[in-house]
């Protein structure tokens, strides 16, 4: 389990290494090196998802490791509370950014709209009310990106708890 500590409260994620082994390992590697500490939820769309783990405040991108294989074909679904990897339009391009679904987004499930879909690798087991608070923050266009919270929603720390 991994806890994301934010000013809005803690979000506890249970990871599914059985169904998404490479994705979980990748995520844990980033957690262990402290990569997520001080990153923000930079893309918040109420009724869709909250996305983070790639930018520092001010939309400054963080240098990631190489992209990983897309394990979206694992049967896990993008339902409310499910955690999945964000990526570019290329199917195997996920690095560090992840998102938490705040509604049932079946169109993101494998095969999705592009033949791959978005890989779910865990779910929120505690703190869904925190996610629900984050999803309602005011957003706007900042630094050329849309749906960016007006006030930074910072992941102060991501820690592994056994």
């Amino acid at each position: 389990m991994v806890t994301l500590k934010t000013a809005y409260g803690d979000i506890v994620l249970e990871l599914d290494a059985e169904h998404a082994p490479k994705t979980v390992e990748n995520f844990l590697d980033y957690v262990r090196e402290g990569f997520y500490d001080g990153t923000v939820f930079h893309r918040v769309i109420k009724g869709f998802m909250i996305q983070g783990g790639g930018f520092r405040p001010g939309m400054i991108p963080k240098q990631t490791r190489d992209a990983i294989e897309n394990e979206a074909k694992n049967g896990l679904k993008n339902t409310a509370g499910a955690v999945a990897m964000a990526r570019t339009m290329q199917p195997h391009s996920a690095t560090a950014q992840f998102f938490i679904n705040v509604s049932d987004n079946a169109f993101l499930d494998h095969p999705g709209q592009d033949g791959w879909g978005y890989c779910v690798f865990g779910r929120v087991v505690e703190g869904m009310e925190v996610v629900d608070r984050i999803k309602t923050v005011a957003t706007g266009s900042r630094h050329g990106h849309q749906d960016v919270p007006v006030d930074d929603v910072v992941i102060e720390q991501a820690v592994i708890n056994d």
Partner: protein, 251 residues
């Protein structure tokens, strides 16, 4: 922020409005954060003279002007498609023309900038045409013709060049390694940045015992804008829009 961006081979034209919109977004949202923007040729798919103010010329001029007014230095190299870009374009946009090749000091590292067509020295037919088209008298004769006439001539030239390319081998249209070395040694640089070949990569080469780098910029399509970011800490290939800011897509 001490950061310079490098792009090339956008091939903007009236037929590709989506690519034009992407470029204008890139200027407003990404380039504006940088200190300098280097455009290493083939910004346009064709350029028939600085007096052409139709799409996409008008939009590009306005976009570049906005950027230079915001304090970003824009340095422009001509490519094999837009070699007629001239002083009036620069005056209208606030860009500075660079020679090809151009040797610059990039945060302390001497760097050679080229469009890249000069490096494809195995393609003798092309190099011959290139020499003729760069002849000032040939250019003057062309520019004396009406815009409509020039437009028709340029379209005809592009069609013929497309036909010629279809019959050429891939090797012929890539750079010649000896020519690359010659240019780098002659200009005493350990880094060369160029476009033209549409084969984005970072090549390492041994230059008289010194490890040198040849960075090839990527060509743009309608959705992805590859660019190179250079800062005092080094060069990193990147792309716009930034990964993860649009995906997953909202319904």
């Amino acid at each position: 922020m001490a950061e310079s961006l490098f792009i090339s081979d956008l091939h903007l034209s009236a037929e590709r409005p989506t690519a034009l919109r992407l470029f204008l977004r890139f200027l407003r949202e990404r380039a504006v954060q940088a200190e300098r923007l280097y455009i290493l040729g083939d910004l346009f798919d064709a350029w028939i003279g600085d007096d052409d103010r139709e799409t996409p010329a008008a939009e590009v001029i306005a976009g570049l002007r906005e950027l230079t007014d915001a304090g970003v230095g824009v340095l422009l190299q001509r490519g094999n498609r837009d070699f007629l870009l001239g002083r009036r374009f620069c005056h209208a946009t606030g860009c500075c023309l660079l020679t090809d090749p151009a040797r610059i000091d990039l945060y302390g590292a001497p760097t050679l900038l080229m469009h890249g067509d000069l490096l494809c020295s195995d393609d003798h037919d092309y190099q011959r045409v290139r020499r003729r088209l760069r002849n000032p008298f040939v250019q003057w004769l062309f520019l004396c013709k009406s815009l409509d006439r020039r437009r028709a001539m340029a379209a005809d030239y592009r069609r013929r060049s497309g036909e010629a390319m279809a019959t050429k081998s891939a090797d012929l249209m890539d750079v010649n390694d000896h020519t690359v070395r010659d240019y780098m040694l002659r200009h005493t640089v350990a880094r060369l940045i160029h476009g033209h070949t549409h084969r984005p990569a970072v090549h390492r080469l041994d230059l008289d015992g010194l490890t040198a780098k040849r960075i090839v910029l990527g060509d743009w399509d309608d959705t992805t804008a590859p660019y190179l970011e250079a800062s005092p800490t080094g060069c990193t290939p990147s792309s716009f829009p930034a990964p993860g800011t649009l995906y997953p897509p909202a319904l």
